[in-house]
Amino acid sequence: MANDVEIKKWFRLEVLPLERHLTQFIRHNWRVEADVLDIVQDVYALAISSAQRGFPAATRPYLFAIARNQLINRAKRAQIVSFELVADLELLDSHLGNFDQERYLSARETLRRVQEGLAKLTPRVRQIVQLRKIDGLNVKETASLLGIGSDAVRQQTCIGMRILADHILGTEARGEKKKDLKNRQIEGGVQ
């Protein structure tokens, strides 16, 4: 039985580096873009639950097998997907190892991704993230400096965190177009 500390370590070291390819795999085999994030989260949850009983010998094929099964189950449940798609999914086994080998990002590459992610944020969200991460200001201090409410700072920081996470982990905002990304930030009250 693995505990949460061990599972978290495994999740960070072995699962998260696979996110970019896992998302590509799901997106390639599932046409409904709005479902992709839900499916990735389902796969992670199943992997974490299973890890409580023991870690897989090889994380990559294990994770992609979970993803394949999730896609098959969803396709069957939806009943709107053609039988051919389900049949194709059942043949996916032999393609699970066809991606390039994942590698850990160097510090420099990670920094570059962070910088690129920051560039995607609206000026106000970027400023709030920088005040927190560079200047070390907390929510109250940021709110006071910018003359806005603490709730607005929290909300905008959370938006920045989510967009940066997608970029750092290589999901590229999960296929969102620039317009959708902008809408997400505007919906969060960011102009």
Partner: protein, 79 residues
């Protein structure tokens, strides 16, 4: 917002609250209950925590980053 997006949003909110902590006893219990309620919550929180830690690498660039400097820095680091 999809169910997964809602969970992500909650995970980011908890992470921020924990950083600004300490949490009240009630909030601490609420956070623990939220984490234990679903493996999806753990996945979203651990993912967000990891990425947010990595985002801290911008500290290496020093304070007061201007957009122009940032772009220059990106192209320089790509060399």
């Amino acid at each position: 917002m999809s169910p997964a997006q809602t969970i992500e949003q909650e995970a980011a909110g908890w992470l921020l609250a924990l950083e600004d902590g300490p949490l009240s006893t009630t909030d601490e219990a609420a956070f623990e209950a939220w984490m234990e309620a679903s493996a999806k919550h753990k996945a979203a929180f651990w993912r967000m925590e990891y990425a947010w830690e990595e985002a801290g690498r911008i500290r290496a660039l020093g304070p007061a980053i201007e957009d122009g400097d940032q772009e220059e820095e990106i192209s320089r680091s790509a060399l």
